[in-house]
Symmetry: C2
Subunit: 374 residues, 2 copies
């Protein structure tokens, strides 16, 4: 049933190009650069594989869905090319461990390079990828998926590295312990491996995935590309599509970045221009852009999406690519309601990142710019 | 067959007391303090469990033998009491993963606290422990067993921690990769877990175990206790039993110890007295005592056993308990021939520990003291 062609969206090379742009936007500064993943996905296409996506509503309730993604430091997976079949080895080892056959692959994280890995693995396995994901953006840790937040136990899981090592996290006493052990292990494997989690039912996926993630990411990419073609403003196109707003425009005048516990933490200070003259913005970073402040006052906070874009091209700038002097727009997009419940905010709200003094307010609740900055 | 009582040596509380002393001697400064393990083994006895040991020759060739031990930092396992059934959970998870039943438990490392863990786990599982081990002493890393050196692939293995987490190292591309991943994982679990390796056949164990390890360790302990009772020299008793010699007697006059890559490395400098007047000795340490030098000249090197003992009590002093001013004897015992082959010396000879300029010479080949120091 899952392979009925009329139920599947088959991605083209143009879709992959758009997905690269869209997933980088949804990466909110983190999630890793999807460029290498795009090349690998394109190569899979050109080798005759099919990259297919299934709508959540077409997923049978009893389908067995395996979510997967890269784990480790994005920078390493950008510099050290994958062996290529890590994800497939993960799925096969998980199937063997639990005695089942996967019906579909799910995406852990649509933001950044992890948008590509499920497509590539699914194409090798002859399976579709569900049009959804566990974050609707990028987050740095595994327990930060809607799957985990809403009760899925992600172990037994399988982690494969490019060398051929296979580790099964057979039981973790909590989702956070799973993250902790897997993180230590991936570092010992060189810092960039692939992990597939225990299967979810189709019914669970339909209820707790962030829906339509591939549709959205490809759509965002297409909107940017079309705006560029007609010499329109790609940033406006992004905001229009996602009910977002430009919070700030200015020039980066200071950057503080340091490694802390395996994460890039820091702050980008932006000196305003255009509608933001005489204002100073700060974006607080922990792998992703987490908090936006205007003149010291918090205006947008995680899990709403904060994206720093090149003001001319509309390209999303990942945190490690931020440089002094860049002319940028800071854009905010509302996150999905599944990330705004009390149980979700425990994990992916400001407190989940140690910002104990910041209370989350949905970005729509408080719009001081009232459209003037756009 | 394995449970035929006439084939088994059933340990008493007195055996456990002797094993504590003997395994500390064979720990060559490392391997961790066996005191807590002794208490746990004694508690198992007092709870009605049987601690039984089977001779290698009584092991059927097709027996399935699981070797296990604690992994992590000895100091942590001394300070943080185990939950108690980590080893049993490892064996059960391994049996489930591979679809077999273990017939006997093997010891990874007879030196230090890892002498006790197999006995305790085997008693909970109702199995005997093989009278042998994979090191005949203590070494810091998993690939340093005769099992690994002579061709056993130790994955799939299972690691359990006191919290309840279970990790399966399903496939490692080499024994060293297994060690590397397991080491990273145990640190994330708090630094002291238990690991059971893929089963070996009885035939393999008979051929490649260091034989009679429990007999030897208990015997050493009994020799020390008896010498003390009759006010004789326990150090002489140790040397007599193991064809060893006292290399040096003196007072510790300097200690350099630092943590490097999770290991204690350093040097103990000893100023000679008695037969060693006007001589200075150095013992180079990496968790275990690895090299003994007299006046700058290497005299004994790993894998031969170098033990620093309190000169009055004959108690082995572990590297972390060395103190300025202690009056000590340095004793050398010859290692088992299985550790002296070219393939073994690759892994556990001086080069295996980074001493590239030290060539291993069996300690019997070169005895400058000619018995004079004893």
């Amino acid at each position: 049933m899952l392979s009925r062609p009329d139920k599947l969206w088959t991605l083209t090379e143009a879709d992959i190009e758009a997905l690269e742009i869209g997933s980088a936007i949804l990466g909110t500064g983190g999630g890793g650069n999807p460029y290498i993943g795009k090349l690998r996905a394109r190569q899979a296409l050109r080798s005759g594989n099919t990259l297919s996506v299934i709508k959540m509503q077409d997923l049978p309730d009893d389908a067995k869905v395996v979510s997967l993604g890269g784990i480790g430091a994005p920078l390493i997976s950008f510099e050290r090319i994958k062996e290529g079949r890590e994800g497939l080895r993960c799925v096969r080892a998980l199937e063997e461990r639990l005695g089942f056959k996967a019906d579909a692959i799910a995406c852990e994280e649509i933001g950044g390079q992890n948008a590509m890995e499920p497509l590539i693995t699914a194409s090798l396995a002859g399976l579709p990828v569900v049009d959804g994901d566990g974050m609707g953006r990028a987050f740095p840790e595994m327990q930060m998926t809607t799957y985990s937040i809403y009760g899925h136990r992600s172990t037994p899981s399988v982690m494969c590295d490019p060398h051929g090592n296979v580790v099964i996290f057979d039981h973790a006493i909590s989702e956070k312990w799973h993250e902790r052990m897997a993180r230590a292990c991936v570092i010992s494997q060189g810092g960039a491996s692939t992990l597939a989690s225990a299967p979810m039912s189709g019914a669970f996926v339909k209820r707790f995935s962030i829906p339509d993630s591939y549709t959205k990411a490809v759509g965002l990419g297409r909107a940017v590309m079309e705006a560029r073609q007609r010499h329109a403003d790609p940033i406006a196109a992004i905001c229009e599509m996602e009910n977002g707003r430009v919070c700030f425009t200015g020039k980066i005048k200071d950057l503080k970045r340091h490694l802390k516990g395996g994460f890039v933490t820091g702050e980008a200070i932006i000196e305003g221009f255009d509608g933001c003259n005489d204002q100073t913005a700060a974006v607080l970073i922990q792998n992703e852009n987490l908090v936006f402040k205007r003149d010291g006052v918090v205006e947008i906070a995680v899990p709403d999406l904060i994206i720093i874009l090149d003001i001319d091209t509309g390209n999303a700038i990942t945190t490690e690519m931020l440089r002094y002097g860049q002319r940028v727009a800071v854009v905010a997009l509302p996150c999905h309601p599944l990330l705004r419940t009390p149980e979700a905010l425990e994990v992916v709200g400001p407190k989940g990142f140690g910002f104990d003094d910041i209370a989350y307010r949905p970005m729509e609740a408080d719009d001081p710019t009232q459209g003037s900055a756009t």
